[in-house]
Amino acid sequence: MTQFWDALTLQAGYNAALVALGAAMLGLAAGAAGSFVTLRKRALVSDATAHSSLPGIVLAFMLMVAMGGEGRALFGLLTGAALSGLTGLLVISWITRRTRLAEDAAMGAVLGTFFGLGIVLLTVVQNMRAGRQAGLEEFLLGATAGMLREDAILIALGGAMVLGVCWAMRRPMTLVAFDAPYAATLGYNTRAIDLLIMGLAMAVTVIGLKLVGLVLIVALLIIPPVAARFWTESAARMVWIAGGIGGAGAYLGAAISASAPNLPTGPIIVLVLTAGFTLSMLLAPARGTLWAALRHARMRRRLQRGA
């Protein structure tokens, strides 16, 4: 317990403090960006693009090794992840527009193919000497042990950028999420704005790779907004509440994982966020299920008395 308290107050050591602050920033950015993703109903697309980033990571590693580098340069790996995720996104949108396949089928096919390819490449790399030391498999579920100051700075800068874009483009993104054809008649480029929303999800995926990993990052994008939705009827407020829930949940999750050895950070953050979602679902005054049940029971009693 004291260990948990130390972690919570950033006194559990340098690395744990970096992890907690990085996680908080990541959660904040993910909650805000994820709000637009969920309002536009693109949650599963963002999951598919996250999974699609794996082959890019491994190919970037191979390329850097082939060029005589060390292969572990984070920036190179993340660039590979972003390019590969973007390719997955474009393939999904191409399949949906050019064939009669529904978007969910296109997503399933792309997610499976890209992730499968990534795992095959990963296995190949792990059989090489350099690959064993690279620890690329940590990008699947995230790891905090090797978190460096540079990594934390990258998350902080990337997260700040995501938040900045969310604020600056809040009106067009909200409008497109609610009523895209109407937005088009006002002169907004709806395809570009859709791409921007997915780009924000992609950016969160990339900066969260190290800490949470690509398998679970979708949870950081989706759970805070749906939890926030229980507390407000305003899209603008939902964005900041989701950011708050995401930031607090990720910070708390990082502290918990730092308080005991070998607790995986990403999955614990997701579980903490799920707890936040459950509490919101039960307790939120206007939309929560407990209050709704109470109101329902009171109304029934009143009607029965009246009868």
């Binding site: 309002l39 109903k41 600056a168 483009m169 009106r171 067009p172 409008l175 999420a177 609610f178 009523d179 054809p181 109407y182 088009a184 008649t185 006002l186 002169g187 939705r229 407000t232 009827e233 305003s234 899209a235 407020r237 939902m238």
Partner: protein, 256 residues
């Protein structure tokens, strides 16, 4: 091809739109009158909504020209307000009635400009015109279908446009809402604005509208209600021997 008239709020020449390998709208000409209420009429799947969306650039057109007050839509955008079908959006979206109406002001406010107090007053005035002032703070998911339609109309009013394009504004609304909407449309006409609505209730065409445009993929008839909305033009649009019920019109066959 004749030049597109500048006096018309919406003039179209040779407009075609396809979905896949089927034409949805084929080689359509139309000229709508200014300061009038016009109805676009045709059976289900006749391309009425598609025609409207193609004029607005929401769906890509294969060919044809569209002029709004003699200009391209891109140049005349600020003079046009669009009211989509009510069922085209998810009404559980986190927004209040006032939020939705103020979406009509986004363009004027600019990307980062604040929506001023004056804008808020204007939005409330638009809600008042559709009889929804008391609902300003209400979550949109709690509205009835008719109330949702009025909110969409108020959003278009907030744009302060000269041409209003409505896609089935009377679909699935209560009688009170229908009257309220007709009243607003008439007040727009009285102020010199032009209104074009996709309409499917043939019984009310003559009562509500001045001008009709009949379409079934291709143009079937066009003109003032008195001359263009007849048993013959309806037959040409809807086909079959069935005289549409309740229009007050009798087909010649039935009369014989």
């Amino acid at each position: 091809m004749t030049a597109l008239p500048a006096h018309s709020p919406l003039a179209v020449r040779g407009l075609s739109v396809t979905y896949g390998d089927k034409p949805a709208v084929e080689d359509v000409d139309a000229t709508f009158p200014a300061a009038a209420l016009s109805a676009i009429i045709g059976p289900n799947g006749a391309g009425k909504s598609t025609f409207l969306k193609a004029c607005l650039g929401v769906v890509p057109r294969l060919s044809g020209e569209v002029a709004i007050f003699g200009q391209t839509f891109e140049d005349a955008r600020a003079r046009v307000a669009y009211v989509p079908q009510r069922a085209s959006v998810d009404w559980d979206f986190p927004a209040t009635v006032l939020d939705v109406v103020q979406m009509g002001q986004y363009r004027r406010a600019g990307l980062w400009g604040r929506l001023s107090g004056a804008a808020r007053v204007q939005a409330l005035a638009c809600l008042d015109r559709v009889g929804m002032t008391d609902f300003a703070k209400r979550q949109i998911g709690q509205l009835s279908g008719g109330q949702q339609q009025r909110v969409f109309l108020a959003r278009a009013l907030a744009q302060e446009a000269d041409l209003y394009l409505l896609d089935e504004p009377f679909a699935g609304v209560d009688a009170a809402t229908e009257r309220a909407i007709v009243e607003v449309l008439r007040s727009l006409r009285a102020a010199g604005k032009s209104v074009i609505a996709v309409h499917h209730d043939l019984a009310t065409v003559a009562e509500y509208f001045d001008h009709v445009f009949l379409i079934n993929v291709t143009r079937r008839a066009e003109g003032p209600v008195a001359t263009a909305f007849t048993a013959e033009t309806l037959h040409a649009t809807y086909g079959g021997r069935l005289a549409p019920m309740g229009t007050g019109l009798r087909s010649q066959e039935a009369a014989e």
